[in-house]
Point group: C2
DNA sequence: TGACATACATCGGATACCAATGTATAATGG
DNA sequence: CCATTATACATTGGTATCCGATGTATGTCA
C-alpha cells in the first residue's frame, strides 16, 4: 500500500519519454534524472525501469544503441524517435487533463442537493 | 492498456473521500458526483466503487447506514468519520506533491550535461 | 413491453510496479 | 588490500489495483 508506488502508476512511460525528449540518455541516467527533476519525490526502481525501456523500444517510441567507448560497463543509450515525440505530446496532454480532473474533484464545488 | 484506467490507480479512495467530505451520499451517487465534478473526465465503475467503499469502511474512514425510507431500492448512505477527514487532508497533500513532481519532470529543465 | 436509469454486490482477468536477486566494472576510504 | 558504494545492465515472482462481466432488484417513461 506504499502510496507513491501507487500514484506513479500509469506515468512511468511518460516520465521516461519526457526525459529523453531533451537528450539521449542511458537507462541508469534516465532514472537518476527523473529523481533529480522531481527533487527526489519520485523514485524509479530498476525493476520498473528496464521493462519500461524495453516496452518503449518494442513500440518504436525509442531506439537504443550500445555505447562501449571509454572505461566502465557498456551502456545502452536511448533516443526518442519521431513517433515517440508525438506520443509524449499526446501523453502530456492526457496527464494534464487527468490531473485537472482530480483537482476538480478534490477541491470541487459539491452538487447543490446531495443525497 | 486503457490510459485513464491506469492513471486513476491509487486515487480512487481519495476521490471518494473528497466527495464525502462535503456531504453524506450513497454509493451510486458518489460515483455520479465524481463524474460530474470531473466533467466526465473520470469514470467510476461499479466494479471499483463498491470494493473501495467496503475498504474505506473496514479502515474506519467512513461509516454507512441503510436508508429504506421512500420508494425504490434501499440505499447505503456513507459518511466521513473524523479519521476519514484527517486521512483525506493527508491524501490531498500527497496528491499535490505527486502531481507537482510529475509536472516538474514533464516540463522540467534538463540537466546541464546529459549522457 | 422494452429500454433505461437507479442501486446494490462479487469475481476473475489483465496489467503494472517493484523487491529481490543476479552479473559486472570502477572508485573510494579505511 | 579489502569492503563498500556507485554505476549499469537485466529478469522473475509477488502483490495490488482497476474494471468488465455478471447478477439481482426497483421505478419510470415511451
Amino acid at each position: 500500500m506504499n502510496e507513491s508506488r501507487e500514484l506513479i502508476k500509469g506515468n512511468t512511460q511518460t516520465l521516461v519519454l519526457a526525459v529523453l525528449k531533451d537528450a539521449p540518455r542511458h537507462g541508469y541516467a534516465i532514472a537518476r534524472e527523473i529523481e533529480r527533476r522531481s527533487e527526489n519525490a519520485l523514485k524509479f526502481r530498476e525493476g520498473t525501469l528496464y521493462p519500461v525501456l524495453h516496452g518503449l523500444e518494442r513500440d518504436g517510441l525509442v531506439t537504443s544503441q550500445w555505447e562501449t567507448e571509454g572505461g566502465g560497463r557498456a551502456r545502452k543509450v536511448y533516443s526518442l524517435t519521431e513517433s515517440g515525440l508525438a506520443e509524449f505530446a499526446r501523453r502530456a496532454r492526457t496527464w494534464k487533463q487527468f490531473s485537472d480532473a482530480i483537482d476538480l474533484v478534490i477541491g470541487g464545488e459539491p452538487h447543490a442537493q446531495p443525497i
